[in-house]
């Protein structure tokens, strides 16, 4: 019996993108995960853009605020109210706190109104919901490359929408230009696709850069001229740690009534607060009809009321949020600098970045051939021989081979240093030049063990 015939086309296809190398690397990590004590020769996860640097700050807040923790309000148990609360408008205290936090993260240069917020189960759900609201099946959104591999699933899979790339190149630091926008639009039309909008990630994943004011203005002019929408995925806004200062699209369109109804922002607490498990996302839109439709759609993925309650308390605490934002940024910068310096010592450069939980690393000079085949070859060596799960640029739809996204905020300093040591050994040994086929799916433990284990015998100074 052909199982696939019984199911929908969506179920049988692979638009979910889970067969891509981005996810395959994760699977390899799952098979052989690094642990400083139990598996020092294992694979180090550098493909996961998580922020694990500032949990202690949240933990200590919880210690001093038992009410939020134990379903209590002024000592009385409010479990019952929370258990029954399923209003898709969301807990008002939480929306207010979230709106306030969004403003704080943006230096209070803009304010956000709770009534324009739609709560969703993570940014994954927010992005999909916006597509359902703004595009028909077969219609397209333009996205600058390289972009987050998950968008292929979130934006296209169940919605039937299409993504048309806006080609960006290293020649200008992958900045979005008017020429590139126009070219993408023309290309979409040639393919017979109606363009409904542009979606940018700012700060960028995987680049780690923030958009300049000029880029933002170019975007705004473009969406006005083409009469389309602009979605700004700003889930990394709290991770901007260096100048130039992050400019949100909200700032760029301040007092621009002619464009507010076209602009929609996606937020999340997964990156800024490091709470991806809690599934907290939101859409912020200046378009009442979008807010209304998206609110109804949020029924398919509401945020758990107990999580809303906890975070309402946490984010309402002005002193906490102020301190957290500053300290979090400081730690991200520190870790970023560590990675950049570690790579520099190996002769590897990164794109200059001022945000994000990763670096966009230039390994073009390590390729055997300046092709994506060459990139895959190098990637497999790094995954299976060096034991680092990093993400190849092709999985992010980058136009140029040789770029890799390397995450730094989801591990201890010791682990980061170890990963740099392994990479250094790999590059110094000239292994990257070998045409030795290392394309097996199973890790070549023998080869991995040789000098990797030697490294792991070094004293472990584990820091958070």
């Amino acid at each position: 019996m052909n199982q696939k015939l019984l199911l929908s086309r969506k179920a049988a296809c692979n638009v979910h993108g889970q067969d891509s190398s981005y996810f395959l690397g994760w699977q390899e990590f799952e098979k052989n995960p690094y642990d400083p004590i139990t598996n020092p020769g294992g694979m180090i996860q550098m493909g996961l853009a998580e922020n694990q640097l500032s949990f202690d700050l949240i933990e200590s807040w919880l210690h001093s605020h038992p009410d939020a923790a134990g379903f209590k309000k002024d000592g009385a148990l409010i479990f019952r109210e929370l258990a029954l609360f399923q209003d898709y408008h969301g807990l008002p205290a939480f929306k207010s706190a979230l709106a306030k936090f969004m403003g704080e993260v943006r230096g209070n240069r803009v304010t956000f109104e709770p009534s324009k917020l739609v709560l969703t189960a993570g940014a994954t759900s927010a992005n999909e919901t916006l597509m359902f609201c703004l595009a028909e099946p077969g219609e397209a959104f333009l996205l600058p490359t390289p972009y987050y591999p998950g968008f292929d699933r979130d934006l296209k899979w169940r919605t039937g929408a299409e993504i048309v790339p806006i080609h960006c190149s290293s020649s200008n630091g992958f900045r979005v230009t008017k020429v590139a926008l126009e070219a993408a639009h023309r290309h979409a039309q040639k393919r017979g696709l109606r363009v409904k909008g542009v979606l940018v990630t700012n700060p960028s994943n995987p680049l780690g850069t923030t958009m300049t004011r000029q880029e933002l203005d170019t975007l705004i002019d473009f969406v006005l001229a083409k009469d389309v929408h602009l979605i700004s995925d700003e889930i990394y806004s709290g991770t901007s740690f260096d100048s130039p200062e992050f400019v949100s699209i909200a700032e760029a369109i301040k007092d621009r009534d002619d464009v507010a109804h076209r602009v929609h922002i996606v937020c999340s607490l997964s990156k800024d607060l490091g709470l991806p498990g809690f599934r907290v996302g939101a859409i912020y839109s200046g378009n009442d009809a979008v807010v209304s439709a998206a609110t109804k759609m949020s029924s398919f993925g509401l945020i758990s009321s107990q999580t809303q309650y906890l975070l309402a308390a946490l984010l309402s605490d002005d002193e906490f949020t102020r301190k957290y934002i500053l300290e979090n940024r400081r730690r991200i910068k520190e870790r970023h600098d560590l990675l950049v310096e570690g790579l520099r010592r190996i002769g590897i450069r990164c794109l200059d970045s001022n945000a994000g939980l990763f670096c966009w690393v230039d390994m073009r000079h390590l390729l055997n051939s300046n092709t994506f085949k060459g990139e895959m070859e190098l990637w497999r060596k790094i995954v299976y021989q060096v034991g680092l799960n990093i993400s190849p640029g092709s999985s992010c739809h980058c136009d140029e081979p040789g770029w890799f996204r390397v995450c730094f905020a989801n591990m201890s300093e010791h682990t980061l240093n170890l990963s740099m040591q392994r990479l250094k050994n790999f590059v110094d040994s000239g292994e990257h030049r070998s045409t030795h086929d290392s394309g097996h799916r199973s890790p070549r433990r023998q080869f991995l063990a040789k000098w990797v284990l030697r490294l792991s015998a070094l004293p472990a100074a584990v820091t958070a």
Partner: protein, 487 residues
């Protein structure tokens, strides 16, 4: 930000899905909600307000859970006893879910169904409530334009959950009161053939067992008929079993999972269960939905789709602990059933006293009330007219059968598990007054009878029910377009 552009210009700017009525919130069904929202009953602050009897919520046992939480602070990742787990839990976003959570859910599902079948944790897929589960299963099993057959009457939310963004159709299998709305093979065949004549490809059947709004459970024979029909036509059978833990009386509940275990020659790849903790436990706010499929490909696909509606790990962690407490779940399920049974008996007895009959039911949080004899004529218009009178004059928000696509006018769904005894008594009083209005002699006689009966009832009520927390009137529903949260 925030220019309000008029609706017309927005129509070009948004998708058809966004601007259509597919969300179902414009139906007259919501007039009742509006009446309640504008004038909600409160025993002290607003004793003449509208009583909410249109919300199928289980509020009878929240005290038991509240007590458990008090006694188990380590189950919360935020208390000093439990905060050591915060990092691992908050960081965990694997769509397989926390292993302990899946194990606990699988175990609880078995218990809620009376232990007749076992559930494999590996097949548990999370979703954003049953709402998310229904949409996801539709996305997995059917393409836009294809259809599922669904016995009437059925939960109005399915029109949104199963159809809105998926483009899948729902085609009714008409059931009738003469045989207690039983799902028969001829009715299935009729619906299936009708679809074929219209060139609509049928991909499956969607049933709710226990039924919403009927409150009845499917017998083994009917389940076998359904499984056999699905097998014969090579179509899916989706069983929404979210009320399985609310079965308070005989006949004993039979889940489709038992049929799967008993009848191995039927293709289990066609069988899928939707479950949730919103009704059995009474925690709709926690958004815990489950898809349980016997089809590996569906489990795999649904799991990937669950990224769009995962359960908060904070909640997973809490419930893994609570549902992992065998002693607690055994006691909880037993007590919940007992309280539901009691509320049901009190309510139906009160209705019976004034000549109102309900469909004989053994599950659910509501009664399926027969008011045909109060209609001027047996039409949907008359039903809606009566309904408006009940809302405006009797001040009860109940749900008209037509909103459940019932084939016969005159039926109403009335919820009883979302209120305490006093509120229920008030509701019954109002019904009594309404029924006997216009008949002074009959009313006087009935009032005398009622007074004596009422007194007897009051005296016999155990103390603890009088201590039950009074329901806050401003209870929220995602279906209400006008509701703003109170807290």
């Amino acid at each position: 930000m925030g220019l309000h552009v008029d609706e017309h210009s927005n129509y070009n700017v948004l998708s058809r899905i966004a601007t259509s009525d597919g969300h179902g919130e414009n139906s007259s069904y919501f007039d009742g909600w509006k009446a309640y929202d504008n004038d909600p009953f409160h025993p002290i602050d607003n004793p003449k307000g509208v009583i909410q009897m249109g919300l199928a919520e289980n509020q009878l046992c929240l005290d038991l859970m509240q007590q458990w939480i008090k006694q188990n602070p380590q189950a919360s990742i935020c208390t000093s006893e439990g905060v050591s787990e915060l990092k691992d839990v908050a960081n965990f976003q694997d769509y397989h879910g926390l292993p302990d959570f899946r194990k606990a859910i699988a175990r609880f599902m078995g218990k809620a169904r009376g232990g007749g079948a076992k559930f494999d944790p590996e097949r548990i897929v999370m979703s954003g409530g049953a709402t998310g589960a229904q949409e996801t299963i539709a996305f997995c099993l059917a393409n836009p334009g294809e259809a599922f057959l669904i016995p009437t009457p059925y939960y109005p939310g399915f029109d949104r959950d199963f159809r809105w963004r998926t483009g899948v159709q729902l085609l009714p299998v008409q059931c009738h009161s003469f045989n207690n709305f039983k799902i028969t093979e001829p009715a299935l065949v009729t619906a299936y053939q009708k679809a074929q004549r219209c060139n609509i490809r049928v991909k499956g059947i969607l049933v709710t067992n226990p039924s919403n709004p009927l409150g009845t459970t499917l017998d083994r024979e009917t389940l076998r008929t359904l499984v056999s029909f699905a097998n014969e036509k090579r179509i899916h059978l989706v069983c929404d079993e979210i009320f399985s833990g609310t079965v308070f009386d005989k006949p004993t509940y039979v889940s489709v999972s038992e049929i799967v275990e008993e009848e191995p020659y039927y293709d289990s790849d066609l069988i899928h269960i939707v479950y949730s903790l919103s009704k059995d436990l009474g925690v709709p706010g926690f958004r815990v939905g489950v898809i349980y499929s016997y089809n590996d490909a569906v489990v795999s696909c649904a799991r990937k789709m669950s990224s769009f509606g995962l359960v908060s790990t904070q909640t997973q962690h809490l419930l893994a602990s609570m549902l992992g407490d065998d002693d607690f779940t055994t006691k909880f399920l037993a007590e919940s059933r007992r309280r539901l049974s009691r509320s049901y008996k009190v309510f139906t007895a009160g209705l019976h006293m004034v000549g109102i009959k309900c469909l004989d039911s053994n599950a659910g949080l509501f009664c399926w009330m027969d008011l045909k004899h109060l209609l001027n004529e047996v039409t949907v218009e008359a039903e809606l007219e009566l309904w408006r009178v009940i809302i405006k004059e009797v001040k009860l928000n109940i749900s008209p059968g037509s909103s459940f696509h019932c084939s016969e006018p005159g039926w109403f769904r009335v919820c009883f598990a979302n209120m305490d005894d006093n509120t229920m008594e008030t509701a019954l009083k109002r019904i009594r007054t309404f029924v006997y209005r216009g008949n002074d002699t009959a009313a006087a006689q009935a009032k005398k009878k009622n007074k004596r009966w009422n007194a007897a009832l009051r005296l016999s009520l155990p103390r603890r029910f009088e201590e039950m927390t009074i329901m806050t009137p401003r209870l929220m529903s995602p279906h209400s377009p006008l509701v703003q949260a109170a807290t």
